[in-house]
């Protein structure tokens, strides 16, 4: 695919901030009571980065992602993507949702699912078909163009959703716990797929997960979130080698250390919540 020709190692492009979340706050107003889901989130993602956001369940991860995606308006602060404040889904962004079974159009074949957003972008037919082919090829689904999503396994459906996202040629790819609902083996395959796609396409990726191992394995950086009301607890650079492998990377000492570091932060977040709750 033709997205961004720079390689990950070029430090000149690294420093350019693509996504800037500044003092984001989200309060849900209910009947007579308001719930502060996100208190203060500030972080930046550089172009070409693969950043994982990890936090305990109920940490407002989905709220954060929806605010970045422009699906939800933050109560305070702002989200800036490529210099423009986000108010509504920005055109250069693609999202992969957790609920793969509900985010693909069941009345469309795999090919049409991937092609629809491209039609919306008014790309010419030849270009569309080229992108659809490349994307499905890239996720290892070159032979299921005419199948319907419900004829595929969960892991394959999520691959279709990923193909749709990369065919869209986004500047930033958001993934909201995309592998939470697939089995462990499929999950490992899909994690490697995300790494290899990121390597090949260089697309800036924000990957939200509750799984510490997954965050450390995938990311260049891991942002650790507290429980709601959410703040950023830690921003950990993952200095594992670029080439990662389910077997050797996960069994390396450095992986265990990083994993332990994230785990300790999350435990601390939980305890803090426990201490605050009775008040």
């Amino acid at each position: 695919m033709t997205v961004m020709s720079e390689t990950q190692t070029q430090s000149a492009t690294r420093t350019e901030v693509l996504l800037d979340v500044r003092g984001m706050r989200k309060v849900y107003e209910g009947h007579g009571r308001s719930v502060e889901a996100v208190r203060d989130l500030t972080f930046a993602v550089a172009r070409g980065d693969l950043v994982c956001v990890v936090g305990p369940s109920g940490a407002g991860k989905t709220t954060l992602l929806k605010c970045i995606a422009g699906l939800l308006a933050p109560t305070g602060g702002e989200v800036v993507l490529e210099g423009t404040a986000v108010d509504g889904p920005p055109p250069g962004m693609a999202v992969v949702f957790q609920e793969y079974g509900r985010s693909l159009f069941p009345w469309m074949t795999v090919r049409r699912n991937v092609e629809l957003p491209l039609k919306q972008k008014k790309l010419p037919k030849a270009r569309r078909s080229e992108l659809v082919h490349q994307a499905l090829e890239a996720v290892g689904l070159a032979d299921v163009h005419t199948a319907y999503p419900w004829q595929l396994s969960g892991g394959m459906q999520q691959r279709v959703a990923i193909a749709r996202a990369i065919a869209y040629e986004p500047h930033i790819l958001l993934m909201d716990e995309p592998f939470a609902a697939v089995d462990a083996q499929t999950r490992a395959d899909l994690e490697d797929l995300v790494r290899s796609l990121w390597h090949r396409l260089g697309v800036t990726t924000l990957f939200v997960t509750h799984d510490i191992d997954e965050a450390v394995y995938l990311g260049q950086r891991v942002l650790v979130l507290s429980s709601a009301p959410t703040v950023v607890l830690d921003d950990i650079a993952i200095d594992l080698p670029e080439e990662r492998d389910q077997l050797t990377t996960r069994s390396s000492t450095r992986f265990a250390e990083l994993r332990g570091q994230v785990f300790a932060q999350i435990q601390r977040a939980k305890q803090q919540r426990g201490a605050v709750e009775p008040a």
Binding site: R102, F105, P117, W150
Partner: protein, 264 residues
Amino acid sequence: MSILRRVTRASLAALTLPAALLALWWILTADSESYYLPPLSDILAAVDDVWLRSGRLSADVLPSLLRLLGGFLLAVALGVTLGIAIGSSRRLRAFCEPVLEFLRAIPPPVLVPVLMLFAGIGDTMKVLVIVSGCVWPILLNTVEGVRAVDEVLVETARCYGLRGPSRLWHLVVRSASPQIVTGLRQGLSIGIILMVISEMFAASNGLGFSIIQFQRTFAVTEMWTGILLLGLLGFLLAMLMRLFERRALNWYFGLRQAQRGGSR
């Protein structure tokens, strides 16, 4: 070959009961002396004379079908359009719902006298009567279908910039199509009933008119042929509807089957 065998078996199963009922009717009425219940053999023998040779197919059946078609299509256009509007807006729904429930509760045949006052006794009146009955199941089912569009799918569509007519068709209408088709099926059967009823009130041609005319002139055998024809017509239209449903909702039946059998 197994497909052929399965089709044969299915059609045998489907045809057994109708055949048995017809046979029973045939046997029970074979020696009938009753003026009102002529033997089935007489009725069937009269079909050719009454409907085919007399030109009644084009003089009566065709106008009936055209009224039904016109009324049904108008009801579909009206019901689906309003249904999408009402289903998409919570405020509009709260505003309209009580009135819709009231209007739906009025049996359409009682509107015939009223509509006659406004629209006369011509085709317009009959089409309007059909619309007034067909439109409710279509409208209400569409509203339900549009309300039930999956939240994740809505967000997906927003993220990928699906807007305007494209969103309406690819997201809203397709998503609501199972309910819309249910509405169409119910609407069609109501439409057939109203087609006949509207022609019984004031008409100079049509299937309903013919049947009433035969009854009033004590042409009982002819009347029975009309009833048989009407039944057959309803059956054929229902089959056409089913065919349409199979084609339009192929994905839906597949999806449901996949969900029931667990994801593969």
